[in-house]
């Protein structure tokens, strides 16, 4: 039986097909989920993809958080289902309070699209177990509001608990506090990051295939479970 991984499409989601392709290339079965539908259709994990949900007009992810599908995603995430938020998906996770902190306007005020080197600081989450701790990977980054911020004590706690999963290397692209590119919740099942692993799954179209590990990690974990 293949593992079913849901990819949510909000109005304005853009990288949803890419996330589905990444799931497929990793050997999973992608399942399209629709923002108006509370039913997760028996998926084993969920990806909240990149894009500009609802135009990102109020704040990135602020409107998507209140969509019907998120009610169930929030409930299931709290119950331990693996959830990955990429870029806009990370913003939705923060707005939903599944992850602490917030993402603010890039410090240089421009949208930036570039290949970004990252270090995997936590290789124990549901989405990173196929990496080794400290491994350096390069995946695309593209956002206008990717500056991670949180209260000092939240940042200290994230560090202390090993919940910083990815850090930017070779230059912080957006002013994120402590070079944070991605974090996880306490249980390690919910991960959010600004860079786009789903765009680094084929040598033809991405800078590397370093992003595949996210999807193989979760598939292994789910098969083992």
């Amino acid at each position: 039986m293949t593992t079913r991984i849901g990819v949510v499409t909000f109005p304005g989601s853009l990288d949803d097909r890419d996330a589905q392709r990444a799931v497929r290339l990793a050997g999973g079965e992608p399942v399209a989920l629709w923002h108006r539908d509370k039913n997760l259709h028996q998926v084993d994990a969920v990806v909240l993809p990149g894009g500009f949900s609802y135009g990102d007009y109020l704040r990135c992810g602020a409107i998507a958080r209140f969509s019907p599908v998120m009610e169930t995603v929030i409930e299931q995430a709290r119950a331990g289902m693996p959830v990955l938020g990429i870029c806009n998906g990370f913003q939705v996770l923060c707005e939903s309070h599944l992850l602490p902190g917030a993402l603010t306007r890039n410090d240089h005020l421009h949208f930036v699209c570039r290949d970004q080197k990252l270090r995997v600081d936590n290789a124990d989450t549901a989405w990173t177990s196929d990496y080794s701790p400290g491994q350096e990977i390069t995946v695309p980054l593209k956002n206008g509001e990717g500056g991670y911020v949180a209260a000092e004590r939240t940042l200290d706690a994230l560090e202390a608990e090993g919940r910083v999963v990815f850090r930017y290397l070779d230059g912080n692209p957006n002013g994120s506090r402590r070079d944070i590119a991605g974090i996880t919740n306490e249980a390690g099942n919910v991960v959010g990051l600004m860079p786009h692993p789903e765009h680094a799954v084929e040598t033809l179209t991405g800078p590397t295939t370093d992003g595949l590990g996210f999807f193989t990690s979760v598939l292994k974990k789910l098969v083992a479970a």
Partner: protein, 749 residues
Amino acid sequence: MTLDTVKHAGETPEAGLPWAELGLKEDEYARIREILGRRPTGAELAMYSVMWSEHCSYKSSKVHLKQFGEKAPASDALLVGIGENAGVVDVGQGYAVTFKVESHNHPSYIEPYQGAATGIGGIVRDILAMGARPVAVMDPLRFGAADHPDTRRVLPGAVAGIGGYGNCLGLPNIGGEVVFDPCYQGNPLVNALCVGVMKHEDIHLAKASGTGNKVILYGARTGGDGIGGVSVLASETFDSTGPAKRPAVQVGDPFQEKLLIECTLELFAEDLVTGIQDLGGAGLSCATSELASAGSGGMRVELDTVPLRDSSLSPEEILMSESQERMCAIVEPAKAARFLEICEKWDVIATVIGEVTEGDRLEIYWQGEQIVDVPPRSVAHEGPTYHRPYARPGWLDALQADDAGALPRPADSAELRDQVLRLVGSPNQAAKSWVTDQYDKYVIGNTVLAQPEDSGMIRIDEETNLGVALATDGNGRYAKLDPYAGAQLALAEAYRNVAATGARPLAVTDCLNFGSPEDPGVMWQFAEACRGLADACRTLGTPVTGGNVSLYNQTGETAIHPTPVVGVLGVIDDVTRRTPMAFREEGQLIHLLGDTREEFGGSAWSQVVHDHLGGLPPAVDLERERLLAEILIAASRDGMVDAAHDLSDGGLIQAVVESCLKGGTGARLIVPDGLTPFTFLFSESAGRAVVAVPRSEEVRFNDMCAARGMPVARIGVLDGDAIEVQGEFTLPLNELREIHERTLPALFG
């Protein structure tokens, strides 16, 4: 407020209308009266005035554009030609591709962010209206001098607008141009290209047929955008208490457009659409009259059913509004319910505003009263045609006589080295990443090549790896020296760029940016450019499938350089064999294809070092371009080269610097016999490219060139971390990179 109905117009034949304020000429107004057999109503006048404007009717340009059809080479690939929203090209395996470039120059000068953003929005809807899924955009841009204060206002705004809209739509930006020249001060050029993909059977056309079919307007509500001129009608003639001034600026909502795209593609997939048209310039006037004109019957529209953002709009203003993110579809009655359901799914407002009628009139009603009753063809397709006078400008002889070949050349190696650095750091030749890093090039996951590369390349089919490549080019300096040759050189460069990546050039789109057609000298430039482009397209076998004309790009008496921007689409059967431009592998051999001559007229060197424009542009040899393309494609197919980069502005040294920096490998260059180092490095002779050939392939590659009669010279080897021109100078890559990359950030922050 009295409503100017058709009946009222019939009863008040002598009522004065502000036709002159709306830009109509006396004889044009007389013709409208003749067509209608009475005076037009205010609404009719509004429709005619905007549809007969230069922008919509091409009245000054169409006598010259005709050649693109008349001289078009026979091409099996052309499925839909000029005249529709965009041309459609067969790329094999049942796929068709549609692409088009359009200008949004004036709006981008007034409000750079929104002007450029809505330029992207408009061209994307054109592509969507053909039945295709838009898959990528490109943005050929021209600005005034890089250090001019107004450029600091216009460029960052336009770039942010293009990125803001395109990124939010989820369309990768795969290429474009950034050119600076004082001639564009006050008249920046913001052109936008979109390419879309569909299956052959999905092609849709803008035509209304089938009596009783519904006319459905869907997308954004209609507001007072872009109707400056027409408010004369509302305020001065019919309703002096109305709002005096309407915004000419259109504001884009890319989120709404994203919904419109997904919604429309779902409507196509369920076969719910009989005819479709996007709303762009001239809004509903254009959409209704063009749909009705192209169809078999007539059309009746109840204008008061149009959903409004601003309830104070007059019927004339509703007809003229250029509110963005709207489409108009013709739908069979039995399918209307499902159509509306899909729109609801995507939160897109959709309204039945009328239906296709038996007759042959376009009739528009407002609160039950008839305010428009016209033959739609007379509005949409039978506008005026001007044969404007044109004459070769008197100044051209002196300009051409001012030969750039006579300019002082570098006296020694040190000066040569210095000039190379000045060239690669000059705004036109410097790295464009400050601009292109603001564009998402990854979204959709099919981008095989994107900036900086010779052309953008998109995978169309994940199973077979079929793909397309696109490049746009245009050199206003060349065209100023000789518009006929300049247009051909623009085509030749784009064609060469496509071939350099291994794709076969198939078809052309163009955006012709010129000054005022009322100036006979400008009109001559325009006529020459059209003739040159049409002739070259015939020789190269690449038909023009569509495009756009932008006139009046001038301030006072001073026109911009004639700037024909040419986009070439190519097909590649297997994108995995693409040829990138990066020089990576040490030890590979650098070969120069083509002939290098003493050609410096309009060159980057003459501009950067001497601030000079004069002489003749490089000679055009289209047969050579075709041969070069064949070589580059064959080399890609047979795996004989690992990298290729075409030569254009800046000549050989510019190309080698770009390829070395991209790949992170240096080069040792040897000046071939018979050339001075200066000519070798800076000449801009056309029909050339550099390639990196693995040693194991050299014999085979040389044999192929010899067999086909292509001049080829081994000019060096990839090696180390500097570019060395033997006997002249050495430039470390990190010094070059610093100089190449710092220019735009230093100017625009």
